[in-house]
């Protein structure tokens, strides 16, 4: 974990957009080339800064969605209609454009293969992003840490990384993905169709005696109710890590 505590001054770097991937109608991944990227640990984030022609600056934090085993840094951005930064990143940005970022930062909501498991990952919407970095590292490293992902989306079309999650869950290394859809469901949907609740967590969570590590990321109400449910189920509070979206301001 020494890599998380790079004792150097945090500097703004100019990243170049190498690729853009439309994940869902409202979500896009930015694949970035970042000069002298110091490496990251899944769960860490970067601050992105945009400067307008008149000098006005807007800054937001985005979780890194890529595995540290890759060369590039992927951020996945959900377009918030009234947002100041996300409409630009998710709709206007083009391959070859540059943007300023600094990081990685964060040393609390992080997972490395050395931390083991079993792992319970709980995501709401684009809260999947930092958890995806963990899953991608787990996969790239050939880790067989027993892992369950409980992932809440509005509809099947809104499930980010759906195909990649299906592939990783089918690779026989012990990853189980449980989707729940909160709004519309396809006709033949046999899966869960409600918000994440205590009963769902009770069914998905590892026995507390296994000392699981839990990471929950999503909108604040989802994160707080899920964390509370896990504590009621007997999970050790210090092994439940949370990342709330809150008023990100898009």
């Amino acid at each position: 974990m020494a890599g998380t505590a790079l004792q150097r001054r945090l500097i703004w770097r100019t990243a170049e957009v190498q690729d853009l991937v439309d994940e869902t109608p409202r979500v896009r991944s930015l694949v970035l080339e970042v000069p002298d990227w110091p490496g990251h640990v899944p769960g860490q984030h970067v601050d992105v800064r945009l400067t307008a022609e008149d000098g006005y600056q807007a800054q937001r934090s985005y979780s890194i969605a890529s595995s540290p085993t890759g060369e590039r840094v992927t951020l996945t951005v959900e377009r918030l209609e009234d947002g100041e930064v996300s409409p630009y990143l998710a709709a206007e940005l083009r391959v070859g454009d540059r943007l300023e970022l600094r990081g990685p930062v964060g040393g609390y909501f992080v997972w490395d293969v050395s931390l083991g498991g079993p792992l319970l990952l709980v995501a709401g919407g684009s809260g999947i992003c930092p958890l995806m970095a963990m899953l991608r590292l787990r996969h790239a490293a050939g880790s067989a840490v027993p892992t369950r992902l409980l992932y809440s989306s509005r509809s099947l079309e809104d499930v980010i990384y759906r195909d990649e999650l299906d592939r990783m869950a089918a690779d026989g290394t012990g990853l189980e993905v449980i989707h729940t859809l909160t709004r519309s469901v396809p006709q033949a949907w046999a899966g869960l169709h409600r918000r994440i609740d205590a009963a769902m967590l009770s069914a998905a969570a590892w026995p507390p005696a296994d000392q699981p590590l839990s990471f929950i990321c999503g909108p604040t109400p989802l994160v707080e109710s899920a964390a509370e449910s896990l504590v009621h189920l007997g999970h050790e509070p210090t092994r439940i890590k949370t990342e709330r979206f809150g008023p990100t301001g898009g």
Partner: protein, 95 residues
């Protein structure tokens, strides 16, 4: 907006805190001067919005203010009245 909707995790202040501290602060532990609870800074409650000039970190156990960071007028002001102590890992030390 409700208080719950405004709440973030201390983790979200990692960038701001790295402007003031040399160390990554979200995995640093601190003790609340109000209730004595000890925990990682990243696990505390954070109130910060994109247009605000700073952030307030409150104890996740008792909601006392632990730390206030303001960045305005070309200065940082750091208020640490709510912390009895703050302990960070020395990354240079071999473990």
């Amino acid at each position: 907006m409700t208080e719950q909707a405004l709440r973030l995790d201390g983790n979200a202040a990692a960038g701001l805190l790295r402007e003031v501290f040399v160390h990554e602060l979200t995995d640093a532990r601190g003790a609340c001067a109000g209730c004595g609870a000890v925990g990682a800074m990243g696990a505390q409650h954070l109130y910060m919005s994109p247009r605000s000039p700073g952030a307030v970190l409150r104890c996740s156990a008792c909601e006392s203010v632990l730390m206030v960071v303001v960045h305005a007028g070309g200065r940082f002001r750091l208020g640490l009245q709510g912390l009895m102590w703050l302990e960070m890992r020395d990354a240079a030390a071999t473990t």
